[in-house]
Point group: C2
Chain length 373, copies 2
């Protein structure tokens, strides 16, 4: 166990235009290392839509809140290089990951139940947040994974199991867990035999892969037919192309699904048409949120006459969902489709991400830390 | 078993102004009596908000659809005077009731599962509907309980158990079942210990009574304090008075409830404030629908950050919920607060209902058919 301090450097977002190819490599001061912390030499970091929403101030003006510069990235995998004296789940040399949340109060009923993402008061995002639980780190900013190192509370760091490529594990830490969590919560493949995934992008492709591996019949629901070949290759059993008239496109499929997980963040989402795809008693789960995030207009009768449930789901728990997901992915050979970029090329990767190029997840790689390009 | 035809007479709504004291007593032709039908000599009929919404064309222009005259009323209890040869659940002389639904396809998976209110294609309302399943009655209109007699499919008629006053059983057939169904579906008193009821009117008062009898801690959520004494007498443990600032009123009660059943049909319902009252993973169930029935504006983040479920629930099943509810009410001595009107005074009762006078449910009585005033 080494206690030597390493120098933190990473790609900083200094303003909303960072996402247009203007991230700047800079040194910064990480949180104080605490006795329940783990420090990771970053090998891989997935690129998540949240990174762009945050860095560009789409989810809140970071200029006004004094939260620039940001180091975004919350799909982090690397080698453990330091553990505090209270850490039990990892040791130096392990390969471990951290997702979008890096701390919680660790004391409320939701934390106790392995639902840390719904913690009553101590949620700390892996970037753009402030630590509050640990006395020594109170008020310090959290920094993410477009960087050389990361440190934070061990409860939120998870060992990557044997047999799972750490490069594909990285985008599972947030994107994968965001889909695996509602799919398993609502019984995909068991009580929910017929599962729909709305939006086949980074999140949605995880939805198709995991729902299929869980044994469900999978319907991909997509706006256009341009990804049709990919969708079939991912394993979808059926595709609904909504085009410009979702109501008409969905009409012949009424009450054909038990569960829909919706990754679209379109503020004009044809929600009523999608609700009608679901069998009475079924569930529609939103995992994407538009920057202007009101739920689209929908009629109360849509719900009263069907008993369909509308809900949302946030990421995945590091003590329940994420370990289960990684084990499941290793066992079933679930393989997300990734494209690797050397982390030094972040100012190419993010504009390409913004242009909608990922098929289906970008992963930044630190080759000098053992990441494989 | 008598097969003699009786003459049907009832209070007809001939136009939207019927609810202003203009119901007219008239003769009409009921559906053809079929071998799985039951005929009831009406003793009691509860007054439900749906009666007024329908008779006044608030839920659809009955003039345009050719559905005037209407005989509304779907909380019917009386004596069975005739049963078809295929009827197994009732015999002549029994006291039986029918609620808001009087037929379904009786063949789909939802009917099979005792969820007839979500039937895939054959839902017939007790009034304002048309029969479709029975060949002999196909296309005939359904007429409700502001009348001397009622007839319809036996699957939807339920025996009133010993020990339950038929007068209080009447408003349970729709209003009671509408609350008992979601309360039991979502575990009030068991998995949902803390239950909120929004809106303390006819439906809401059933909510407080049943939730309390089921063993829940009950929070009544009401717009003003004018019903405070009633609410306490009904058994609520806590009251939240929202006034004009629901957000402020609810703030100190965040995450205090497992389940809310909302009987309000206010199009300006402060939904976001109510969602925040619910613990992560809990459920908000809408059972009221405004005439302009869009769901109030609410943020996707309200759901994503809490995993709260928004759903709706319609009435109750005649094969599962209603029999269970009647048995439960008889055993626990659940007593709705009713005010009786002689059915001949319907043109006094409905305007009083429209003025918001019920504390909390009106019941029309046919004394010449054995109803007790």
């Amino acid at each position: 166990m080494s206690n030597q301090e390493v120098t933190y450097e990473g790609w900083g977002a200094f303003g909303a235009d960072s996402v247009k190819g203007n991230f700047k490599w800079h040194k910064y001061e990480p949180k104080t290392f605490c006795e329940d912390d783990v420090e990771i030499k970053i090998q891989y970091c997935g690129v998540c839509g949240s990174d762009v929403h945050t860095a560009s101030s789409g989810w809140g003006d970071l200029e006004a809140s004094g939260m620039y510069p940001q180091v975004v990235g919350h799909e982090i995998v690397g080698e453990v290089i330091r553990v505090g004296s209270k850490v039990k789940n990892l040791k130096v040399g392990d390969i471990a990951g951290v997702g979008a949340q890096c701390d919680s109060c660790q004391a409320c009923q939701w934390c106790d139940a392995g639902r840390e993402q719904y913690c009553a008061g101590g949620m700390t995002g892996t970037y753009g947040g402030k630590f509050s639980r640990q006395e020594e780190a109170k008020g310090q900013k959290s920094y993410g994974g477009y960087a050389n190192f990361w440190r934070g509370p061990s409860r939120f760091t998870v060992a990557i199991p044997e047999g799972l490529d750490p490069a594909v594990a990285a985008p599972m830490m947030c994107g994968g867990a965001t889909l695996f969590s509602p799919l398993t919560q609502y019984g995909a493949g068991t009580t929910a035999k017929d599962v729909g995934i709305v939006g086949i992008g980074g999140l949605g492709h995880f939805g198709v892969l995991f729902a299929k591996a869980l044994g469900a019949n999978v319907t991909a629901i997509t706006h256009s037919d341009r990804k049709m070949d990919d969708i079939k290759a991912l394993g979808a059993d059926k595709v609904i192309v909504t085009g410009d008239d979702a109501k008409a496109a969905c009409k012949d499929h009424a009450r054909s699904l038990d569960l829909i997980v919706c990754t679209s963040n379109d503020p004009k989402l044809p929600l009523a048409a999608f609700i009608n795809l679901i069998r009475p008693g079924g569930t529609f789960v939103l995992v994407g949120a538009a920057e202007a995030d009101s739920i689209p207009k929908v009629s109360a009768f849509n719900f009263i006459t069907t008993n369909v449930h509308f809900t949302g789901s946030a990421i995945g728990s590091p003590t329940t969902t994420i370990p289960d997901m990684l084990k499941f992915a290793a066992e079933k050979g679930v393989k997300p489709w990734i494209k690797k970029y050397d982390m030094k090329d972040v100012n190419e990767a993010i504009p390409a991400f913004e242009r909608g190029e990922p098929r289906y997840r970008f992963v930044l790689v630190n080759p000098h830390h053992g990441g494989q390009l």
